[in-house]
Amino acid sequence: MTAPEGRKLRLIVLALVAGGLVLPILAGLWETTRAAFGILPAIGAVEWSLDSWRRLFALPGFGTSLTLTLWTGFASTALALALAVGFAAVMYDRFGLKGGARLLTPFLATPHAALAIGLAFLIAPSGWIARMISPWATGWDLPPDVATVNDPLGLALIFGLLVKEVPFFLLVILAALSQLPVRRHLSAGRALGYGRGVVWIKVILPQLYPLIRLPVYVVLSFALSVVDMAIILGRSNPPVLSVAVTRWFLAADTTLILPASAAALLQSGVVIAGIAAWFGAERLCARLGRIWIRRGGRGVSAEPGLMAAGGAVLILMALGALALVSLLIWSLAWRWSFPNALPESWSLKAWMQPAGGWGMALNNTIVIGGATTLLSVALAVAWLEGEDRARLPRAGWAEALIYLPLLVPQIAFLYGLNVTFLRAGLSGGMVTVIWAQALFVFPYVMIALSDPWRALDPRLVRAAAALGAGPVRRLVAVKLPILLRPLMTAAAIGFAVSVAQYLPTLFMGSGRIATLTTEAVTLSSGSDRRVTGVYAVLQAVLPFAAYLAALALPGFLHRHRAGLQGDAG
């Protein structure tokens, strides 16, 4: 009875995903590819040629940009992974999974741009840390001429990425650990005389890694193609490839769009090759690791390394928190000059003019975030319900489809997608921005919702069916209420992802749609940290408020349902 209906639902969902998510990406890639090989009629380029590639390779600083991209991308991902694993190993016994996840929320919720703006001020030679220890400890009456931000090696960018990626890895690791019998492994390993750290590396990590492989690739792809954070923290001349591509796309010399498109394609190539190289390194580590494990060394030597990783993560978190606090202080300051640890004078002026400035941006951000999240959650529920009705596990290709938008670099298809949308008569506006953002929000919602959805006790649904409830009623009256908490969490994650989107909003909104993120990034290249502070604070607070609502609402609605008070699902 349910089979035909289930098939219909699945077909609808598949059509929506194919037409709404996959097609735009392919169309965007197609337009970018055409331009990369010389076809962009708008600027009179109508012949296939390799000129744009030649121009790209000849652009000053191209080689440095590419090297810098690879270095910052790989270094930050590898380091973030190592730190997160180390921290999880050290902290696993000390606090529960739930407490850990809650501690991480502020960092996950804070958009990259806001965090980067705060960190840039925190670690600058004239920044907050320098101000706190000057001149009494350092003797600096004027800031020293050292490159702590926008440094040539991209260390500040790697640092910024770490603050953002370590919490993400931790959350993923905590979720994966709940699927492993960690405690039994630990006691078995220790009974056999292995040190605690060694059990983590030799026993638990090999089982953990396959569970977090896809998120690792997502982080690697992101780190290789990040734009907003790299603008604020990265080297400026030349910048990493993704920033260079963005600049070339927007340069006064419009013929640069051709090499920019070539570079955008190359950016995808870098990500694909990067993931392939990472995959190869995984194999190598597995082979070498197996030899190492077979040798059976029991040592406790891993312990100090894990402790150091744990300590480093705590320092990262503290600096991240300090960065956010500095944004709030700036938004309330009037004059704050070096080397004062706190502003000399305070003012609410930056907050007092919502009308022309942050009011509109806040409004747009909420509307776009709300619409994008609603769409994505609805689609995700439809997808999962379709799977339920078909009683089929998810195919590999379907999983890949979900991850596709997260693995393809945004810059590679956004310009092309813009041209496609314009040709279809969808000019820059709310609709295209919401659509483009949904490409990136939907995967996260889907990832967040899948596991709790599948973990739902099937007996409840069967009982409802036995009592005569049809498929729709089973969904609305049984599944959705029980899954309210994970649904809200997925929605909060989706909302946070939407708030943080920079390139899709910039390219698809024709710059007309100002959100907190686009404004904050623009203002970060201005002279007024106080106004930037207001935008960044709002940008950080908004997703956090969504998370709080996601926690509070189910608790309130289910206040008379003791069985649903915990982490249902």
């Binding site: 708008a42 030679p125 490159a147 419009t254 070096f338 710059g511 990034v521 201005g526 002279s527």
Partner: protein, 395 residues
């Protein structure tokens, strides 16, 4: 009357100078929202545009929606993307704050509406004679495809509490920076302000500055810029971070002056420092001045893309910006502090009195301190200098 007019506007055909065509434009503009694409890095300018929107709404029923750009080229790219998609009307960009290379690029590709300047009633306050600053943009004749709105002039800003005697020429600047390494820098040369700094140096150092008014041919470029690169090779190692990296734009440079990371900032607006003091963004001890041989100056314009959705509204906005009352408001140091583009000789007594009554500030340079205004070189020089600089100094 209305329909043919709209049709003419929609196809981008130049309008005949009909007696009542302006009234028709004003009537058609009523209720429109003009998307003005303007660099958004300066809060004063953003506030001024918001103020103008309020005035226009009250008087003409038009509102301005500022599209804040980090770089003017973003708007150019957008119009190109729209043209690529065959969108010849209802475009998303109604008006652009534009200058030099961007203007040249759009004009050459036929992306601009016009000529429209002579249709604006307030154009009568401008000096429209051939070669006047109001009709020449970086040596390119504007031919009515853009309308002036503010005057810009290169100045250096320093903190008088830290620097007693600022260098008055580019040669003296090299000596000063050699004596105080790491305390001077300029914005990245890919940025307008950074390129302007190099152009200012070029005009001072080149053997024959008149060559710069023509196109930069290979040969002319080589001879004219040789002293510039020799000077810069010496200056660069003395710069902040040894010239390995540069602030993105003048706003960041101003923030660095405020933070004490460097001792100089620069601006293309003589009142920028005074206004920043007013807003608590620079210490009260900063002063601005121009190099003693004079400094580069030019006028900023607004242009309307060929496919703008709200052309009539954009024209009314352009006209409003030329109103003597608007120009006096813009020159007010507490508002925008940008100097008027109007010809003083064409103003009536009331308008002149309004300009005379504007407030002053210690950080505001006097006319003597501002000195002579030097002509912008042909845009090809800026493009080539930026390219050559990137080739020489990008690792």
């Amino acid at each position: 009357m209305r329909l043919p007019l709209l049709a003419a506007l929609a196809t981008g055909i130049a309008l005949p100078a009909l007696a009542n065509s302006w009234d028709d434009t004003v009537a058609a503009a009523k209720g429109q929202t003009v998307y003005w694409n303007a660099w958004g890095g300066d809060e004063r300018t953003n506030d001024f545009i918001a103020w103008a929107s309020g005035q226009l709404e009250a008087e003409y029923g038009i509102t301005i929606q500022q599209v804040k750009l980090t770089d003017t080229a973003e708007a150019v790219t957008r119009v190109i993307a729209e043209k690529a998609a065959g969108q010849t009307e209802g475009g998303s960009v109604d008006m652009i704050w534009i200058n030099g290379a961007n203007f040249l690029s759009m004009k050459q590709q036929g992306l601009l509406l016009g000529p429209f300047l002579s249709d604006l009633p307030n154009a009568k306050y401008l000096d429209l004679s051939e070669g006047s600053a109001a009709v020449v943009d970086f040596t390119i004749a504007t031919e009515g495809y853009e309308s002036p709105w503010r005057l810009a002039k290169f100045v250096l800003t320093y903190d008088s509490a830290r620097v007693a005697e600022p260098p008055k020429s580019m040669a003296a600047l090299l000596d000063w920076s050699t004596a105080s390494p790491g305390r001077f820098t300029h914005p990245a040369v890919s940025n307008f302000m950074g390129a302007t700094f190099l152009k200012q140096a070029l005009i001072e150092l080149t053997p024959d500055a008149s060559v710069l008014q023509g196109e930069a041919t290979d040969e002319a470029f080589e001879t004219a810029t040789a002293p510039l690169w020799a000077w810069y090779d010496e200056l660069r190692p003395t710069l902040w971070r040894e010239g390995s990296t540069f602030p993105e734009n003048e706003s960041i440079l101003q923030q660095m002056l405020n933070d004490g990371e460097v001792d100089f900032a620069m601006a293309f607006d003589p009142a920028a420092a005074a206004a920043a003091v007013e807003r608590g963004l620079l210490p009260e001890t900063v002063r601005s001045y121009a190099p003693e041989g004079g400094s580069i100056g030019n006028i900023s314009f607004v242009a309307i893309p060929f496919n703008a959705a709200n052309k009539e509204g954009a024209m009314v906005v352009a006209n409003f910006l030329l109103d003597p009352a608007t120009q006096a408001k813009a020159q007010d140091i507490t508002v925008l502090g940008s100097y008027s583009v109007l010809d003083p000789a064409k103003l009536d007594d009331a308008a002149r009195a309004a300009f005379a009554a504007l407030p002053s500030s210690p950080a505001l340079p006097t006319n003597e301190e501002l000195g002579r205004t030097l002509n912008e070189p042909h845009p090809s020089w800026m493009t080539r200098i930026a390219e050559e600089w990137a080739r020489r100094y990008t690792e």
